[in-house]
Symmetry: C3
Subunit: 304 residues, 3 copies
């Protein structure tokens, strides 16, 4: 974060999202986004619309440039301090966009020499494939970012703009065994695929198994955090958030926009309805209707 | 799954397990096993004996060849469709065997050039060792399949036909500390071994620590899924199923044929009796008698 | 553990910690520390001060040398057996020190040829960096032990004598998303650092994210076991014990000397007070006052 950005460039970038700019942005340099513990004259600060004391925060901020919602006004005090106040409807969203555009570093496209890639794998254009990645006979979409140490087994297909973080293991055999009469275990063949749609992000050391006879599917825009386990034949919808250490057992269906808190476990063959919320450490043993929040072990509907 | 297998070869393979073959199998080609969403003329379909409508499933299947139990009969409709009905006692088991024999791809024996192996390690015959594997001074049995990115530390001994999936870490130091008077922590030496018997399978990114002064042991035929943690001195019996994200703390004993559901946690120094079942997310803080099912946090016996 | 150590060298090493040595240690060879299942004439045995039958344990041990506390006396029986009894205040601690000094193997400093290290990374002196490690633009302290397959992303700073076990992923982007009106998710920029102080140990396949706008911090002497997830902006104090599979969500503060049992989950933005204990599988949704023990889902104070 040692880059210096001109505030005027940030204002140009936000464009129509800006409702008003108060004060003179010319010549102001921005080196970092607001960190509440570390605001200085090079910070682009922002004010959470939920705070009751917004005017006071703007007054006391050490930053020269502040993004706030329309309830904050450019009063004499801000003017006397030569501050710049940028008014937008959603300050946090504006900060996110600015951060992603100006401060986040993305790896440059290219395949690291240590990656081990199946000769028949199809890799889309502008993909980054990091050190020690292992890719089987599979299809990777355009603009993929596949960080170091990721495993992508045979039969995985990804859309475009997927991000896979270090150590994730995608498309390996699922865990299905039958017990024979002598107690020993026979493996059920795991022959399906793992299909990952566009803009999915998968966290570090997360494991997603391929399907057994049908496929495992991760829908468009879904984000999965670190150390999750998604079993065979699971079908995850669009824009689902699966936070860290979540377990989803086989053949469970998770519909669009569901939010699953850390360390929750979903039993197999259940259905989590659209927009449902699952609490931290919840053990879900039943179908969860759309829009409901379930918590506890075993999980029950949270009455609000 | 683009291979084509002759149905007659499958019938030969099943041999004595077949009670009857109805219809003419000559010339029928099989390209995939039953996936309920995707059955076509090249599918080998099967019918779950628990289904009440078996005859109707056989009638409506788009497959030309179906495996079913003796309650399904080769009626006029099946005959008119020129279907082949193969009768066995356990259709699912037959499908598993066929899948493993004809469709599952196993890696060919050999050691990838990027594997880093201790010069005094002993590797059994016909082992597959994938890319970026790290193997210390240890003994690996015959026909091992050790996938990419696995770590096997000094002092691990495995039997034959073990399967270790990507990113698993086997035989590293366990986690044992004592607190000194100034609050700082001193490590207890971790000097034991990790001993893994024949036909054990260990999931992706699972960690199994070596013993502290005695050994950690994983019994013959036991299967462990992804992202599990098995601590020092744990002793696991034969044919145990440990599903994803299970935690087994130090010195706990798990007897033969136990089944542990995902995300369960077993406190250290407990004993899980033969054939017991532990529920999803259960937090087991006591000994569990043989054959019982325990669920909840803290886990209690499930009365049926 | 095939090394042979002279008991007299061990006695020299313990020095002032020894209250008394009974019997003649000359010529006694030690090859291993006490493993209750496997004591022989080359074992250095020890007796837990909590055991009621200490004198009898000393009598029956097959070892020639035994470490015990002052309640054990060198009676005629021990003398007749020519045993050596070494008296210290804390036998377990003495065994730990002996094991660490004489039996634990540490990797030799050096950087494995397969490690991929950013050209501007600063690596302290006497560091060991194992096979297939990936290190970004960051600062690693002196005497670090970084095992194979570890990922250390840009912006991580570590103190001295840190130990990072295989497959850990340190300093990658945290998991923060906002939902837009069309349901899609936008990432909040993750621009902070991960700062790790001296003598921290981090377990295999554990993931610790860097801060979003402020930093993630792991305090001096803290030990973290395998498969844990520590989210962005978490601040962990000194000498904390975080056992396996623990989840700590974003911005939570864990004060000094806290002990967190396996598979516990801490919600974000909470504070765990100094010296608190969190039980196995506990789901902590509130602040925990200093010194208290909380268990269950949701976690509540355990009244003793």
């Amino acid at each position: 974060m040692n880059k210096t950005i001109l505030l005027t460039d940030i204002i140009d970038f936000l464009g129509n999202e800006i409702l008003a700019v108060h004060g003179n942005p010319e010549g102001i340099e921005i080196r970092h986004l607001s960190d509440p513990h570390n605001v200085d004259e090079f910070t682009l600060d922002w004010i959470n619309p939920l705070r009751p004391d917004k005017q006071n925060i703007a007054k006391k901020s050490k930053a020269r440039a502040i993004i706030a919602d329309p309830e904050t006004s450019y009063d004499e005090n801000l003017s006397a301090q030569n501050k710049v106040l940028i008014i937008v409807d959603k300050p946090k969203l504006a900060i996110a966009k600015i951060g992603n555009a100006f401060f986040v570093k993305k790896p440059k496209p290219g395949i690291h020499t240590t990656a081990v890639i199946h000769p028949e794998a199809i890799i889309g254009k502008d993909a980054y494939i990091g050190p020690n990645v292992t890719i089987g006979k599979c299809k990777i979409g355009d603009c993929a970012i596949i960080h170091n140490g990721v495993t992508i087994a045979d039969g995985v297909e990804t859309g475009n703009q997927v991000v896979i973080k270090p150590g994730a293991v995608l498309g390996h055999e699922g865990f299905g065994f039958g017990r024979l009469e002598d107690g020993s275990l026979i493996k059920f063949p795991q022959l399906g695929k793992l299909i990952i749609y566009d803009k999915v992000e998968i966290g570090s050391n997360t494991c997603i198994d391929k399907g057994s006879l049908s496929d495992t599917i991760i829908g468009k825009g879904t984000k999965i955090n670190n150390l999750c386990h998604i079993a065979h034949n699971v079908v995850v919808g669009k824009n689902v958030i699966i936070t860290a250490q979540v377990n989803v057992s086989g053949s469970t269906i998770i519909e669009d926009n569901v939010w699953i808190a850390p360390n929750a476990s979903l039993r197999g063959h259940q259905k989590i309805g659209k927009g449902a919320t699952i609490g931290t450490g919840a053990v879900v043993t039943k179908n969860v209707p759309a829009g409901e929040t379930w918590v506890g072990n075993p999980a029950k509907k949270l009455e609000k």
